[in-house]
Amino acid sequence: MPRQRVAMSADEAAAFLVAKRRAIVGTRAPDGAPDGEPAALACAGGEVRFSVPRDGPTARNLRHDPRLVVSVEEFPSYAGIKGVAVHGRAVAIGDDGERTSFRVAAPRVESFDFAKVRR
């Protein structure tokens, strides 16, 4: 279906992200193939931030290629499906010895809200 007809507004997408604590982060592995991992999400002040294990695949992949997608979705029912994907480049902002935190620079947001589908 044409995505623009079911997209959230910028405010709706921001509110959706702020309420979520988990995301799936997609990256490219050193072999060039896509890879993914769940991440702890913390969005605030218009910025998308997340953390992953410092020795895990996502942190490793982002050192090779900072391009990423952060995907959040909920599926309480078919008509209630909503999702936001943020494309951008990862910038490392912290490391506590176990996990590395990143923010998403140059974010580009895509979203869908099945409640907006005209039936």
Partner: protein, 143 residues
């Protein structure tokens, strides 16, 4: 040789969970993500989508994909499987056509949705995608 315990756990998890995030590469080479519903059958992950969708375009150009299959976000033991492998578009008649596969319906998807999906598969508007795993790893709180 017996399968490794991690493989058994991953396959048991995949049989019981259908919430998947498909990761493909866009034409510019950046990763992108498609939340979907999957079905694990015959040692592969199956997806059902529109033939003209961005995900089919992406995985036709670059068949290497990843799928992150996870529990609901609020599950007390949040966990999942990351599967990396190759995707191929399969014509509808080659799908696992057993009664259980055709009747399979994830929670929250009504019978009218599955009926419509079945019609569009038959019309060729939708296709099945089979992802054969090359590597799987567990993530989160598996017992």
């Amino acid at each position: 040789m017996a399968p490794r315990p991690e493989t058994t756990t991953a396959e048991d998890f995949l049989r019981a969970h259908t919430r998947t995030f498909l990761l493909t590469l866009r034409p510019d080479g950046a990763p992108t993500c498609h939340p979907m519903v999957d079905l694990w059958r015959d040692g592969a992950l199956w997806l059902n989508t529109y033939r003209r969708s961005a995900k089919v375009r992406n995985l036709t150009a670059e068949p290497r994909v990843a799928c992150v299959v996870v529990t609901d976000d609020d599950e007390p033991r949040f966990r999942g499987v990351v599967l990396r492998g190759r995707a191929e578009v399969v014509a509808a008649p080659a799908a696992p056509a057993g009664p259980d596969a055709r009747a399979a319906r994830p929670p929250g998807v009504g019978a009218e949705v599955t009926e419509r999906v079945r019609d569009r598969l038959a019309e060729g508007k939708r296709v099945l995608v089979r992802i054969v795993p090359e590597a799987m790893r567990l993530v989160g709180e598996h017992a």
